[in-house]
Point group: C3
Chain length 462, copies 3
C-alpha cells in the first residue's frame, strides 16, 4: 500500500476494533486488581488469627471464578439462549466455538464476576468454613457440580448460576435490558444499570446479607438482652486502608470500562464523564460519612474506616448511571449514599446480624441508592429533568429490576446456605472460631512468632 | 458505510480524539493511584500511634480535592479568564457549561491537584491538627469558604487558590506559559515545565517547608544546644517501601501522561522518551543517593529509605523536561538530584526544621534541580547544546518561574498556617502528641491490641 | 485538512504507530509494577530481621537494571550485530543513535530485564551479601565492569551479559528465533517462546538454583543426617500475599503485552487470548496446587502460600504460548504446572538446597513446563493437533532452546557465584546471619521497637 493510497472503511474499522479490545483488556486488568483491594480491605478488618483464611478465600475467588465462569458462567450470561433467550444464554460453554474476537469481552466480564463473588467473603468472615465459602463462590460466578467428597468431608452437589443469569437479564439480551414497548410517545422503557449498582452490588449484598444472617454473629459480637455492640476490631488499619485505596483505583476502571468501547464518537467523553462522576460521588459520600459519623449519635471521632466505606458506597451508587449524570447530580447521589451507608450499617446492628466489613451497607446500601436515584437524576429522562409518565415508568422498571435481582439472589442464597447449615458444614466449630482459622485450617499463622526477633518488636519483652 | 468506502478526515479525527481521551483517562487513573503511594510512604514513616491519622489525611486529600477542584480549582486553572486571562481563569465552576469533551482533561488535572496537596501531609505528620490539615488541602487544590463551626471547634473562613492559579500561569494560558517575545532571532521565550517540577513539586515543597517550620519539630526530634538529631524512626519499613514502589509506578504516568495526547505524530515517541528519561534519572539518583549515604559523613550503611527518596527526587527532577532530554542528560540530572536531595535534607536538619518524610528535600530539592537544569540540558535549546543569548534568556525565565511559584506559595502558606497558629489550632496539644493522634482523635488504633492473639506475635508474652 | 478530505495510508499508519507505542508503554508500566510484587512476595517470606535487606535488593534491581540495560543490555539484545548478528547485537549502547521511535520498545524490554533479575533475589534471601547480589544483577540485566573498590571491600571486575544475549537469540534476530529451514513441506522451524517461559523464567530459575546451591542453606534449614526440613517461616503472610496479588495483575501485562503491537488486524484478539489463557492456566494451577498440597503426603492443610506459588507457576508456564493455545489447553497446562511446581519444590528439599521463596520451583519448574508443552499444545502445529515430522522437529527445537538457555545461564552463574565464593564475599558471616542483615548492614530494622507504643500491640506487656 503506497503511503498516499486512500484508506477504506474496512481498515479504519479494523483499527477501531483493535482499540476497543485494548480498552477492554486494560480496564479489565485494573478491575481484576480489585481482587487485591477486596482481599486487603477484608484482611485488615479481621483479627490476626483469621488473616490467612480471608486471604486464601480471596485468592481462590479469582481462580475459582476463572474456572467456573469460563466453563458455565459466560455461556449463561452472553451465549445465545435460543427460545430461552429472554432468560438465559446457552452457547460458548468453556469458550467452545466462541469467536476469537469475543475474548476481550469475556475477560472483562470475568473480572466483574470475580468481583461480585468477593463481596460475600467480607460478610461471612472469621467464622465460615473454607469449603462452604469456596463452593459458594462457584455458584455465584458460574455453576458447578462439585463432588465435595474430594474435599474429605463434604458430599454436596451444587448447581447454581446466580450472577451470570442476572447479567444475562440486564446486560445480555434478557428481559430486563429489553424492557417493554409502551408505544406512542413513550416507546421502549427498560431497566438501566450501566456498571451494575444492581447487577453486581445489590446481588452481592443480598448474598452477603443471607450468608451473614444464617451464619449468625461471631462470638462476642452481640450480647443477649443488651444493646451494646462488641466492636471486634480488625487487626490492621493500614492493611484495610491499602485495600480501600486499591478499590478506589479499581472502581474508576469498573465504572469507566463499562462503556465497553472507546472508538466510537462520544465514547471517550462518556468514559471520562463516568470516571469524573464516580470521583465526585465518592468525594461527597466520603465527606458525608465522615461528618455523619462525627456529629451523629454513632460516634464523635473522625473515623478512617467509615470514611473509606462511605467513599466506596458512593462509588457503588454511581455504577447505575455515572455515564448519564451531571456532576452536581453525582454530588447529590454521594450524599444520599452516605446516608444509606449509615442507615444500613445501623439496621444490621439492630438486627443483630454481624457483617464484619459492613459489606451489606456498602454494596446493598449503595446499590439500591444508585438503582433508584438514577431514575430521578438521569440527565435526559430522569424525573427531576423530565417529569412525565415516561420517567415514572422508568422508575417503575428500576423497582422491577431491583425486585428481580433481590428475589433471585435471596432465593438461591437461602437454598445454598440453608443446605450447608442443615448439614452442619456452614460454620466452623466454636473452638476453631476461638482459636482462629489460620492455624487449624491452614497451618499458616499470618505473623508467625518465630519469624520475629533480633532488635525488633520482641525486644520489648526482654 | 460499505467496507470499501473511503474514510474522511472527520472520521479519523474522531478516532484520534477518542484515543487521546483514553490516554488521558488511563494515565490519570495511574496518577490517581499515587495517592495510595504517598499514603503508605508516609504511614510507614510515622510511629504506630499516628498511622490512622496520616492515612485519613491522605484519604481525605483525594476526596476533598474532588470537591474543591471540581467547584473552583479547574475553573481558576483552565477556565476562560477574560481580561484577567494572564493571571487566572474564571469559567467552568462546578463544571458548569464545561464541554463534555473536556472531562478527560479535567480528570487528569484533578489527579495532579490531588498529588500536589499530598506532599504537605508528610512534612506536617505526627503533630498537625486533623482539621488544620484538612482545611489546608482545600486551599491548595481549590478554594473554599468553610464554616468550621461544623467541625465543632473551629470558626475560620478560608479562601485561597494556590495550586490552580499557578497551573493557570504555567500550563493554562497564563503569563508564564506565554512568556515574552524578544523578537528577531530569539522570538518567544517562556517558562518550561513539562510535568511540573516547579508547578507541582516546588509548590508542594514550599508549602511543606512553611508548614513544618511553623508547626515546630516533634517532641524529641531536636535538643536545644545539641547537634544530635533524634531519629524518631517510622514504624514500618515495608509499608514505606510499598508507598515508594507505588510512586515509582505512578511517576511514569505522571511524566509520560503530561504529553496530554497520544494520537498526533510523534506523541508516542515523546511519551516513551519521557518514561525512559524518568527511569534513567531515577536510577542514577537512587544509585547516587545510596553511595553518598554510604560513603559520606551522613552514614555508612546502605539505607533503603534514602535510596527510595533519592529515586523519587530523580523522578521529580525529571518532570520539568523529560520530554526534551537525551538519556545521558537524564543520567547527569539524576546525579544532581541525588546531591540536591542530600543537601536539602541536611539543611533542614541544620535549621532544626522537622520534616518526617524529607518531603522538602525530595520535592523542593528535586523540583528546583529540574527547573534549573532543563535550561542547560534541553536537547534543542539548552545551554550545553546551544550557548547563546536565547538559552541564557531561557534560564532567566526558569528563575522567574521559580521565583513566582516560591513567592506565591510561601505567601499563602504563611498566611494560612500563621492564622491557624495564632488561633492555637495548628498543632495538637502536647499530651495528644505524646499519646499519638490515632486514639484521641480517631479512636482507631492502627494495630489494636485486642485483635491479636492465638499463636501469633503475642505468644511471646505467655 | 477539510473534514471531508480523504485520509491517506500515511495518516493511518501514523495513528497506528502511536497506538502501538501507547500499548507498549502502558503494558510496560504494569510489568514494571511487578517489581513491587516480587519485592513483597519476598519480603513476606523472610524473617523480620531481613526485611529491609530484601526490599533494598528489589528496589536496586529496578534501578541497577535501568543503568545497565540502558548502557549495555539493550544493545546486546536488540542492536545490530553485523556479522555476529546470530549471536549478539552491538549498536545502541547507552541509546546512542537509537531512533526515537524505538524508545517504547526499549522501555518494554527494560521492564522484562528487571523482572528476570528479581527472580534470583528470592532464592538467595537471608544470607547473600548485599554487594554480591547487587553486582550480580548488573550481570543479568546488562553487563558492567564495576570497580568494587568503591564499595569499600570488594575488588572484582565483572563482565557478563546473561539475559540480553539470550533475548537476542530468542527474540532479537538470533539463531533461536531464526531456527532452521528444513525445506519442502516443513519449512522453517524455530524455537517458540512468546513471553519468555524459557528466556525469562528458566534463565532466572537456573541462576537462582546455582546461587542458592553455592550459598548453601540458611542456618537451621536442614539438619545433617535428618530428613526433617526446618520451615523457617516468613514473617508476614499478608505481605507475601500482597506481592502475589500484584504479580497476578502484572503477569497479564507480561503475557498480553508480549504481542508488542495492538493496531494490526488480529492483535486485539491475540492479546485477549493471551490474557484469558494466562488466567485459565493460573486458575487450574492454583486449584491443582491447593488440592495436591491438601491430599498429598506434602501436607493436609489448605495452604495460601502454596496456592499463590501454584498460580504463579501456571502463569509462568503460559508465557511460552499463551497466544497460540485453546483455553482448554491452558487448563491442561495449568495442571501440569501445578505438578511441576510440587515436584521441583520437593526435589530442592531432597537436594538440601535452600530456596526460601521456592523461586526455582515456580520459575524453572513453570518455565520448562511451558517451553516443552507448547510443542504439544500449540493449536496450529502442536503434536496433539498435528502429529507429523514437523511437530516433532518443533519439539526438538524447544529442547535445543532449553539446553542453550540452561547451559548459558548455568555457566555464567557458576563463574560469578564461584568467584565470589572463592573470595569469601558471597555469604554474610554467621553472626550477621544470626542477627539478621537489617541492622548490621542497613541500620534500618523493619519494625523498630521504639516506633511502637501507646495503646497498641505493646500494651500487652504492661
Amino acid at each position: 500500500m503506497s503511503s498516499n493510497a486512500t484508506v477504506t472503511a474496512k481498515e479504519i474499522l479494523s483499527l477501531s476494533f483493535s482499540l476497543d479490545q485494548f480498552f477492554l483488556i486494560i480496564m479489565g486488568m485494573v478491575v481484576y486488581f480489585m481482587q487485591c483491594g477486596f482481599a486487603f480491605l477484608e484482611a485488615g478488618a479481621v483479627r490476626s488469627k483469621n488473616v490467612t483464611n480471608i486471604l486464601i478465600k480471596n485468592v481462590m475467588d479469582s481462580f475459582v471464578s476463572g474456572i467456573a465462569y469460563w466453563i458455565f458462567g459466560y455461556a449463561f450470561a452472553y451465549g445465545d439462549g435460543g427460545k430461552a433467550q429472554k432468560f438465559i444464554g446457552a452457547t460458548y460453554f468453556a469458550s467452545y466455538d466462541m469467536p476469537v474476537d469475543q475474548y476481550a469481552s469475556f475477560f472483562f466480564q470475568y473480572t466483574f464476576a470475580a468481583t461480585a463473588a468477593t463481596i460475600v467473603s467480607g460478610a461471612v468472615a472469621e467464622r465460615c468454613e473454607f469449603i462452604a465459602y469456596f463452593a459458594y463462590s462457584f455458584v455465584i460466578t458460574g455453576t458447578f457440580i462439585l463432588l465435595l467428597k474430594t474435599f474429605s468431608y463434604f458430599d454436596i452437589a451444587f448447581f447454581g448460576f446466580i450472577y451470570p443469569v442476572v447479567t444475562h437479564w440486564a446486560w445480555g439480551s434478557g428481559w430486563l435490558v429489553d424492557g417493554y414497548n409502551y408505544g406512542g410517545d413513550i416507546g421502549q422503557i427498560a431497566y438501566q444499570d450501566f456498571a451494575g449498582s444492581g447487577v453486581v452490588h445489590v446481588l452481592g449484598g443480598v448474598c452477603a446479607f443471607i450468608g451473614a444472617a444464617l451464619l449468625g454473629p461471631r462470638i462476642g459480637r452481640f450480647q443477649k438482652g443488651s444493646n451494646v455492640v462488641g466492636t471486634l476490631r480488625g487487626h490492621s488499619v493500614p492493611i484495610a486502608a491499602l485495600g480501600g485505596f486499591i478499590l478506589f483505583f479499581g472502581f474508576l476502571a469498573f465504572n469507566g470500562g463499562s462503556q465497553l468501547t472507546i472508538s466510537s464518537e462520544g465514547d471517550g467523553a462518556a468514559v471520562a464523564v463516568s470516571v469524573v462522576n464516580t470521583i465526585i460521588s465518592a468525594s461527597f459520600a466520603a465527606f458525608g460519612s465522615l461528618i455523619i459519623n462525627r456529629l451523629h449519635i454513632f460516634g464523635n471521632t473522625w473515623s478512617l474506616l467509615v470514611t473509606i466505606n462511605g467513599a466506596l458506597t458512593g462509588m457503588v451508587a454511581a455504577c447505575a448511571g455515572c455515564n448519564q449524570m451531571h456532576p452536581w447530580s453525582s454530588a447529590v447521589l454521594g450524599l444520599f449514599a452516605a446516608m444509606s451507608y449509615t442507615l444500613w450499617s445501623t439496621v444490621m446492628k439492630k438486627m443483630n446480624i454481624d457483617d464484619p466489613l459492613d459489606a451489606v451497607a456498602v454494596h446493598f446500601g449503595g446499590g439500591i441508592t444508585g438503582v433508584i436515584l438514577i431514575a430521578f437524576l438521569d440527565k435526559d429522562d430522569g424525573i427531576l429533568f423530565n417529569w412525565d409518565k415516561k420517567s415514572g415508568l422508568k422508575l417503575g422498571w428500576q423497582f422491577v429490576g431491583l425486585a428481580a435481582i433481590i428475589g433471585w439472589s435471596a432465593l438461591f442464597s437461602l437454598v445454598i446456605f440453608g443446605i450447608l447449615k442443615c448439614f452442619g458444614v456452614l460454620r466452623v466449630p466454636r473452638e476453631i472460631e476461638d482459636k482462629g482459622l489460620d492455624i487449624p485450617k491452614h497451618n499458616e499463622p499470618a505473623y508467625p512468632v518465630e519469624a520475629y526477633g533480633h532488635g525488633h518488636i520482641e525486644k520489648l519483652i526482654q
